[in-house]
Amino acid sequence: MTEWRRIETFGAPPGFNMGLDEALLLDEAAPPTLRLYSWEPDTLSLGYFQRFVDVPGTSQAGAVVRRLTGGGAIHHTDELTFSLTTNASDPVYRGPVADSYARVHAAIAQALLEFGATAELVGEVPLASDGEGTGMCFHKSTPLDLAWGGRKGVGSAQRRTRGRVLHHGSIKLGTSALEGAIATLGSSAGRPLDPAEVGDALVRALSEQFGLRFTPAAPTAAERRAAEALGPRYQDPAFLHRR
């Protein structure tokens, strides 16, 4: 069994959330880490390369950040957000990016089954959740995305830096005004879901899929300091409007 840390920071501020993920990405000595988190206030995150003006929803969220990872914008509300950070040589991420998505998404699909959602890779089929003009991740599907009921319900993106990998994931528990027509786990379960219980299911699935043992932990003092130092950039107007 490979040891991973499990860090939960539910209801954390947006700059801290992004700063801690960057701190974990950059620290080559950091152990493999799964973060389970949510946002306070609700936050719209832009993909790293997105143009600010291409995402009209920025004016309707409680806060806006730009992620280190690519892809489309996500409105982080009523969802479980998670990140995986480890070395690129880790068996979970070794090899082509597409293969690592397939492996991780297989584990996520297993977790979703606990809540009545039978998710599959999209393939080349258009989805009912696809749409133009919003810039939102959940309105644009790729073959590697997870969907159920013909709609996208999980968003994910990776950053690869100096032999390290940061994998961002977003599992939708409910909809928001900015993300209509998507698949939500709460709808499949037929009840409101707490991010923590979905996080527990994700941990079980990742443990089984990859033979991992997760140890609950808090960010170290050094990681917290790094997160506080790195965090403000993500909401800095110059960074938000860099494109």
Partner: protein
């Protein structure tokens, strides 16, 4: 075997040195890792402007595929003197010919060597471990 007329970084960039000019690109392995043969999966490449100085090992740009953003690292330091303008609009060049037409930047070298540089044989070992 990859070209032995240049040096490599373990992060999958190459540099070909001609006098005091270094031409930098990324390897076929890096491209394959990002797009798994689907060249249309490469969606964006951000390169520096001419005139910028880069240090050996410094990130000089970024490349995005449909599912990942990856850093581009400079094998050696120097001043950027030319950027391959064709790349940003034609990322498929990287998949078609990463060794010649797919070069990314040219720099005027401030130093011609670094301990981090690998020859082709050593780079093949890196690839064998990661594949």
């Amino acid at each position: 075997m990859r070209p032995d007329d240049r040096k490599y970084l373990s992060s999958h960039e190459w540099i070909k040195i001609d006098g005091d000019i270094g031409t930098i690109g990324i390897t076929d392995f890096a491209v394959q890792e990002l797009c798994s043969g689907n060249e249309s999966d490469l969606v964006y490449c951000d390169l520096p402007e001419a005139g910028r100085s880069v240090e050996a090992g410094e990130t000089f740009g970024e490349i995005e595929s449909v599912k990942a953003v990856a850093d581009l690292n400079a094998p050696l330091g120097g001043e950027v003197i030319e950027v391959n303008a064709a790349i940003e609009d034609h990322l498929e060049i990287l998949a078609d010919d990463p060794w010649e037409r797919g070069w990314l930047i040219k720099i005027k070298l401030s130093a011609k060597t670094s301990d981090a540089l690998l020859d082709a044989a050593a780079y093949e070992e890196v690839v064998a471990q990661e594949a």
